[in-house]
Symmetry: D2
Subunit: 379 residues, 4 copies
């Protein structure tokens, strides 16, 4: 019996979900079939047009209708962040599995409500922290787990883009806390937290600072300028539960960075480094063998790095962004069919997002913030 | 009315075609719908299993049945190279459009028969030289066309993998001319010719040398060794019709190279360089502006490089190998619906493959080979 | 009349000074001649041997003798850091110009005494922050000054090596605060502060954390283990006087990093990034021209980047570490001959070292540290 | 007793020799002392000025006087290539050791006369193929010799600069065969031959093509244009005596290349690649260990790669172009003091230059050229 997908949203992430769910079984094989049951967007004409393009059986402009529909097993939520909470709670209440884009919500309180509702309802949840599904990233995690670089003792991470770098860009809703929540931390920083946690374990406490580079932006013709309320950059110094330290930086105003999401893990025997703009490569240095031959090696992803081989049997041929999303959809389908549990689920995402809110809080208070909620919601 | 796809083969390229045709319309929108009508492989169980996985309506183990089927509009041929010719001729005779993997055929004579049959029949053809559909590559072509690097005067290209680098690999059919045709030239070299031609125009003549590194390979247990009959490496020095010179090298025994397919075009005002293992990047040097600020710039593919935006609205998020195949399928669908002509078609491919056979001929004769067939079959 | 050099120390930096002073005039031409007057080390045999090798006129094992000698105009101090202060004060008192290796001293108090003594005496001073003399670095400073990347608004820097990465290394004096002072901050971090200050202006305040990764190290055979008293890593989040923010990280336990001393400056119109392990390259991104052609460009140092041309008239031929030291020596000779003032002098170095001590203080107190001494000693 | 250096020429290479000989003993220690005895250039004022700058004891504008002078033991010849032969023959006749810049001569006949004269006279000779002295290059040679990449079976090399890339550059003597001899091959290609030979052993035969991109260049104001008589690019396909094949390309019109002198050696167990514009790095791939961890490793030169440690005890600090020349001078001084023989000497250089003339000959004749002289003059 095919799994019915109800997808809300047809933008960047909406399309990515549609492409991912239509490829998951053709790529992986041993997964349930997927019916693209219902697509929701407004206005209705937009929903109709994309349902036709993506191959959905029907369209609607009423997300509550989609959530209630008996042919929908998974609700994918790809709407603006401010809408996630209400939709997810309704879907959970309707007993649906929920695949929600990151971040879960604008506030930590909403995120917690979502995680608690999901836990109570026992539905499968998954959050769109897609970069952790990259075979290169999974390989890095396994290298660390198997001790290849010794004990991980230090972490560095950066996540930068330039979509708010231009001083002449107009003001948008992204700059208003009530609409967008956090700035660079919510758009970008939380991705890095998801990776840092997978690599190093949970973050215990931190100190941080944030910065608004462009304090105001122009409104429409003749309307003057409005304030930017959320951070362009954030920097944090981390202490992990395992005793390691590290740092995390993010900027949405970093000219030339298109999808920089880079990190390095320092171990007692070696180092691993990664750069998202070259997502099929991993840098590995191990202190072993002839010293004159040691060096960072560039490992190019291939069939030795699962699940690359499901996409292509030849190494070095490169996966792309949408392929990572296909792996994410496959993880959801596996979880629904009981083969595995999906991660990062709502509880995991709550822990990630607690970190970005802690960064914001530390920057405002000037004090160290301890993340006890991580202990209450272990992933 | 949806276009019916009949796909022969379920290996590396078979899966790539299935994934590509199922994504083409969801990605691009303004294309005909595709019905995955029929999938052929042997044994029948394999065909059935993959038809189910990929979402084909039915399966067969008789390719002639597929070719004859009225619900099939496009025949995709992804079988071993030795089978392309017979299948393509039959499909053309049945009035089908044909999407064939590269190289067209083991011999130039067969390739010519295929090109001539297609031209007579007036069907749409496309050959799987998928790397030319990369947005980064298309951007390079446009930079050259618009004079950004001046007149192109010199070319260098390399296409290397390491699947035959290990001296201890067993002998396979790949090593026999009758089964596999050319060696590295047929597997790899022809891809580079397709790119060189798009960048520089047709090749007029060449001198070349080839090399068999591993002269014999082991047979099964106790069966001794058998000869390797086709080249592990080939090198050629090219003269282009536009007066430029250049060189082309290929190896299937180059340790560490997984999908190296690199080239550089030297112009009178600048240079462009590309590396397939980083397929979302282009290197551009232009002699303009302050000399102290000149340098090769790394252009990261994004929405400014069509058709990247159809996959993702954000720059730097990376396309993968299967995405290039999706663009290829879209080109086929456009051509069928009369919006455009598809390239590289059989005539184009004939010209590319004439070059690799000319390299082989020059290596054996020790003489310069002039490619007049290029003049008879301009692309 | 030739300038007499008295050099104390024959280790890594001693040799570097000897090589630098013997090349400065041959490379640059318009500088005073240098007499390698006196070399000091202990034991006397070592001093004699190196004086012969380096071409010094005479040797001594008594640094006070060297400092007092009338044929010595410049005293170069390259001894262990704990000895700098006493030697520099004696040299200043003797009216000598002083070229001292970094850091000035183990404590900020000693560094301040040195800076104040030099100012009172009116002698020329220079501190071995040699990386700021790199033509690529100087070019970066000029690009920022001339507005090429707009207003600098954010900074990131890392300085990592792996000389203390191995858990099995024996305990040495480097691990004792009384002998070595700070750890990674003193060896490495201060270099990055010198670069950050040149690029961004002075640092106003910071928050920080530090980490000892290897808490004890083995003593000699059967002697057990001793504590490591100073930091293996340090991380700081900076606020600059110009309103920019940024971060600075350093580690002496970062496997695979041999001389990483990397930074990036984010501006409102572009970005500049640099990596010391590729010291002849600069990465520049500017938001101008056709968006489809924008990208980080790799600027390879050449005659357009002064003073590269003094070493080599052809671009891309590469300067090395010792060449940077030669430029440093040339700056000292220019200052002595009145053509220019030398930087970073003792006052500049005091400001740099105030930052690393502030990082240490913040890490211990958990509080933001404000650097008012920077205002008292502007460079 | 100090070795007396007589240096003819004060340009790019003249200065490089002066710097190299003044540093050789300070850097290496166990070498004879060097007296900078005599510097020759015209006009006399230039010779005087540079003698003063470089620290030579005296100057002359008469190279025959320098050659005849009893205080000169080594004659360094850094004059325009057309002058090398006469000067070297005179120096050899005077019993001097000769350090000559590359190429030896404009014609192979002159080069052979020089090599034969040197052999008859028994003097030490050395030719300025300085790139082979790079510790990274020497390390590559040792990796190959010790079998780390198995048997070397294929070679690729490129040597490109852009000093003749601009179509608007004026005509100079460089374009006239009688003055300059070969074009890119003489300036650049011969360097690559020196490296290829060290890595792979001698070249046995080749086929080649050459190209003049800019057929004429402008003369002075109102004087029209003159022909360019020598090649802008050359390409050759090589057969080595050890059975390997390979290719070699060179261009003096390659925009953006400042000192590209790159090569790769394909072995049966691995690959080594090198890029001169990053002269402190070596790329090594070896087929050993876990396949999922294989990759090209970037080996950063350090004390494990001799003789780097003589310059700097810390890895990753980078050598520069002039340091390679210092190693070259040290090799000359060692040879003179009987510790070693110097290479590449005149006989070696004759073999290298036979290759570039063979390339030119093959390009003109269209035929394979066999290099038997290599057998007569083994290095």
């Amino acid at each position: 019996m095919a799994v019915g997908l109800g997808l809300i949203g047809t933008g960047f992430m909406g399309k990515a979900h549609a492409l991912a769910y239509s490829h998951a079984r053709p790529v992986f094989g041993n997964l349930p079939s997927v019916r693209l049951a219902c697509l929701c967007d407004t206005p209705r004409e937009r929903a109709d047009a994309f349902a036709d393009q993506f191959g959905f059986e029907r369209a609607t402009d009423d997300w509550r209708d989609l959530v209630a529909s008996p042919d929908v097993d998974i609700v994918s939520i790809t709407t603006p962040n401010a809408l996630h909470c209400e939709m997810a709670l309704a879907a959970i209440e309707a007993g649906k599995h929920v695949h929600c884009e990151k971040p879960l919500a604008l506030t930590l309180e909403d995120a917690r409500r979502m995680a608690e509702a999901a836990e109570r309802a026992g539905v499968v949840t998954l959050v769109g922290y897609n970069y952790v599904h990259n075979p290169a990233f999974q390989h890095a995690c396994r290298l660390i787990e198997t001790g290849v670089i010794g004990k991980p003792v230090h972490f560095r991470g950066w996540v930068d883009e330039d979509y708010q770098a231009d001083p002449d860009l107009a003001w948008t809703w992204r700059a208003r806390k009530a609409d967008a929540g956090l700035g660079a931390l919510g758009d970008l920083g939380c991705h890095l937290v998801s990776m840092a946690t997978a690599l190093m374990g949970p973050i215990e406490s931190l100190i941080a600072d944030t910065q608004i580079i462009h304090e105001t932006r122009r409104l429409g013709e003749g309307d003057g300028r409005a304030a930017v309320e959320n951070e362009d950059t954030a920097s944090a110094i981390l202490r992990f539960s395992n005793g390691a330290q590290g740092s995390l930086c993010t900027s949405r105003s970093a000219w030339g960075r298109k999808n920089k999401l880079d990190w390095e893990v320092h171990g007692t025997k070696g180092m691993i480094a990664f750069s998202q703009e070259r997502l099929n490569e991993l840098q590995l240095y191990v202190n072993e063998g002839d010293r004159g031959r040691q060096g960072f090696r560039t490992i190019l992803t291939g069939p030795d790095h699962q699940p690359y081989a499901a996409f292509c049997p030849a190494p070095g041929h490169q996966l792309g962004f949408n392929d990572l999303k296909t792996i994410e959809a496959a993880r959801m389908l596996e979880a629904i069919s009981g083969k595995d549990t999906a991660h990062p689920n709502f509880a995991d995402a709550l822990a990630f997002e607690a970190v970005i809110h802690a960064i914001d809080e530390s920057a405002r208070s000037g004090r160290r913030v301890v993340l006890d909620q991580l202990k209450r919601n272990p992933s």
